[in-house]
């Protein structure tokens, strides 16, 4: 019998015992659905983590420091490369060179300093950092109130929520609910904040004298005040990577640089680099893709700098998700395994019921292969229907879980997330898997039906 004819007969036979076959098919659907829901959740979480890390800038960023600072990030870096004293300084020309490397989008210096800020007359001490304009799309600004900087050189500030609370005199009590960032934003946005800072300026008269003389510091330090406009209150912590040194007030990077604020490294440099240009304590190099990290790191090391990136962390993360997906897949498949027993049961029942019919078909000239093919086609058809319905069901379950999670997140004042993702290969794979499982389940019943003795089967009432 041709495959098309077997399939047509099979679908007909399935329709005939509609209730029983539907129930079996629903069993398969539930199995496929649980598999799809589990895996789509795993894939979704992986995607979410990947997306988060991608936009957090951890994975496409290499942090460059000078070896002069004697701060290798590990033993290997300290042992290899040029001696600290011979290594290049991390200054503006070096930064430009870093930016010229292939696959580098930008290289920006880390500007940060502790200083005093005045709000409505009262002083507050905190860490201030420059923020490159490119970090506008950073996830850390999800849920931010107000706007990002209007330009890279505007005298504007974005405050971290904790600092905003401090300005308003609302120090949160331990264990109390987080303050809603919206409540903080209303009294602060558009207000003025006065930044006090010490500027490092070249002192021409002094410096010429110093150059002729000994290793004297060749710059002046001048106190300044600068008014800033509060444009945004960030809910999350954009500078979390910096740990203890993390800033709570952010300025546009170009603007921060233009202030020439005295940096911590400046003081140290005075002992070694008489009258030279300022150096950066570290430079962040942003790459086109996390894939380029290794190559760029190698290139930078060749230039004589120390580098740091977190690519190794991705590797273990990927491993973690592979294991997670495997476990989710196994749990999802359990239901499918149970469903496959249902198929065997249904088909064995069908053979008993249709014994006479099998006998008739054999008497009419159907071969063992024809009978086997017919039952195989029935199992396969249940697999196709079960798979298709299961994918739809799994998709719906995933959506519902996602929706529920987002309702919860919103209640907790978190932005909604896509924690569930169904790639096309999962849909196709689940249906194919369901068909394979169904066919395997049909193996035994089909061969049993094929082996039936027609004379006996015809005698059966």
């Amino acid at each position: 019998m041709k495959l098309y004819d077997s399939t047509e007969l099979a679908v007909r036979n399935l329709r005939e015992s509609f209730l029983r076959n539907s129930l079996t098919t629903i069993g398969i659907s539930v199995g496929v659905a649980s598999l799809v829901a589990m895996l789509s959740l795993g894939i979704g979480l992986q995607k979410l983590a990947g997306r988060r890390l991608q936009s957090s800038g951890l994975f496409d960023t290499v942090i460059v420091t000078s070896r002069r600072d004697l701060r290798g990030f590990n033993r290997e870096q300290e042992d290899n490369g040029p001696a600290p004293a011979d290594s290049p300084a991390l200054d503006e020309p070096a930064r430009q060179k870093l930016e010229q490397l292939p696959n580098v989008i930008e290289a920006y210096p880390d500007i940060r300093f502790i200083t005093e800020l005045r709000f409505e007359g009262s002083p507050h001490l905190t860490m201030v950092a420059g923020l490159p304009f490119s970090s506008k799309n950073n996830d850390a600004f999800d849920g931010m109130q107000g706007n990002f900087f209007s330009s890279d050189s505007a005298p504007e500030a974005i405050l971290q929520k904790a600092f905003a609370e401090e300005l308003l005199g609302r120090t949160p009590k331990r264990g109390a609910d987080d303050v809603n960032v919206r409540e903080l934003a209303t009294p602060l946005l558009g207000k003025e904040l006065v930044l006090s800072y010490t500027e490092r300026t070249a002192t021409p008269s002094a410096s010429s004298e110093a150059d002729r003389g000994s290793d004297a510091a060749a710059y002046s330090v001048v106190r300044h005040r600068q008014a800033l406009k509060i444009v945004g209150i960030s809910d999350l912590d954009p500078d979390s990577m910096r740990g203890q040194a993390r800033a709570r007030v952010f300025l546009p990077l170009k603007f921060a640089q233009s202030l020439h604020v005295m940096q911590a490294s400046d003081v140290r440099d005075t002992t070694r680099l008489p009258g030279s240009a300022p150096t950066y304590s570290n430079v962040s190099v942003r790459l086109k893709s996390p894939k380029n990290v290794q190559a760029v790191e190698d290139a930078i090391k060749k230039m004589g700098f120390n580098t740091f990136s977190i690519t190794d962390a991705t590797r273990s993360m990927r491993q973690f998700f592979a294991v997670l997906d495997l476990f989710l897949g196994i749990f999802g498949s359990l239901a499918l395994a149970v469903a496959s027993i249902g198929i065997v049961n249904t088909l064995v029942m069908a053979i008993l019921e249709r014994r006479r019919e099998i006998g008739i078909m054999k008497a009419l000239g159907a071969s063992d292969a024809d009978v086997k093919g017919l039952f195989f086609a029935e199992a396969g058809a249940m697999g196709v229907f079960g798979g298709a319905v299961g994918v739809a069901l799994g998709w719906t379950i995933g959506r519902i879980i996602n929706l529920g999670t987002n309702v919860y997140l919103r209640r907790q004042n978190f932005p909604p997330e896509q924690i569930w993702f169904v790639p096309w290969w999962l849909i196709a794979g689940a249906i194919v898997f369901s068909i394979i499982i169904s066919l395997l389940s049909g193996l035994y019943p089909a061969s049993r039906a094929a082996r039936l003795d027609p004379v006996q089967a015809l005698r059966y009432e």
Partner: protein, 253 residues
């Protein structure tokens, strides 16, 4: 196709030859000889009735000729091919193309319409889809059921069901029609109707007919030759009164 029977021809082709065939069934401890050493020859175009009481082995013999069962010993040769030489798949092909079967209980598939039932052997034979429906309809019309093609077997009378099963048996143009008590479940009027169809197939299509029956009268009226069985053995083999000419008979074994 079969060669039309020409009466008086001294040696028409042998359609069915059985040589000392036995079929023994194991029932627990007991060995039951359903067919016990039957040798016979049926020539192409003959209409043979197998007579006997129930348990005489006539249906078992028919199943052996039909290739539904294999003999314990002896051989069955149909149109020159020894069924013992055929594989299971080849035997299925033999049933599909060489043999048409009609049963006492009709054996139509209840979930299918008449048209689909008649179409089924063509489906198995992988006849082109486009031709099947027309052929099946033609076969149904031949037995007067053209208007009933969409009906399911349960919606029909016994006579109609048996006519449909006749149409199904003939659809692949077999050379041999094996009928197992074809009128057993029918009243005498519809039984006659069926027998007339069978006779017509024998006479106009030249099909070889082997019919199992326990009604001597029916055999006398329609068949040309009666073979009587008892306890799995052949006890009598002779031409019926309706046989116009002498039937070639095999000598004593």
């Amino acid at each position: 196709m079969s060669t039309p029977r020409t009466d008086g021809n001294p040696s028409p082709e042998i359609a069915v030859l059985t040589d000392n065939i036995c079929r023994h069934y194991q029932m627990g401890e007991a060995l039951i000889p359903a067919v016990d050493g039957i040798s016979l020859e049926i020539r192409s175009g003959e209409f043979v009735a197998l007579l006997g009481t129930s348990g005489s082995g006539k249906s078992s013999l028919l199943n052996l000729i039909a290739g539904l069962d294999r003999p314990t010993s002896g051989k069955v040769v149909v149109h020159g091919s020894d069924l013992a030489d055929l594989s299971r798949a080849e035997l299925a092909k033999y049933r599909l193309h060489t043999v048409g079967m009609v049963f006492q209980s009709f054996n139509l598939i209840p979930r299918m319409t008449l048209l689909e039932n008649v179409e089924l052997p063509m489906r198995i034979a992988e006849v082109n889809r486009n031709k099947r429906e027309a052929l099946a309809l033609k076969a149904l019309e031949r037995v007067g059921l053209g208007k009933r093609k969409k009906h399911r077997p349960v919606e029909l009378s016994g006579g109609e069901q048996q006519r449909a099963s006749l149409a199904r048996a003939l659809i692949n143009q077999p050379r041999l029609l094996l009928a197992d008590e074809p009128t057993g479940n029918l009243d005498s009027r519809t039984g006659t109707e069926i027998m007339n169809f069978i006779r017509e197939f024998n006479e106009s299509l030249g099909m070889t007919i082997v019919m199992v029956t326990h009604e001597r009268a029916l055999a006398e009226q329609y068949a040309r030759r009666m073979i009587s069985l008892a306890d799995g053995k052949l006890i009598d083999d002779r031409a019926t009164a309706s046989a116009a000419t002498a039937v070639v008979r095999r000598g004593e074994l």
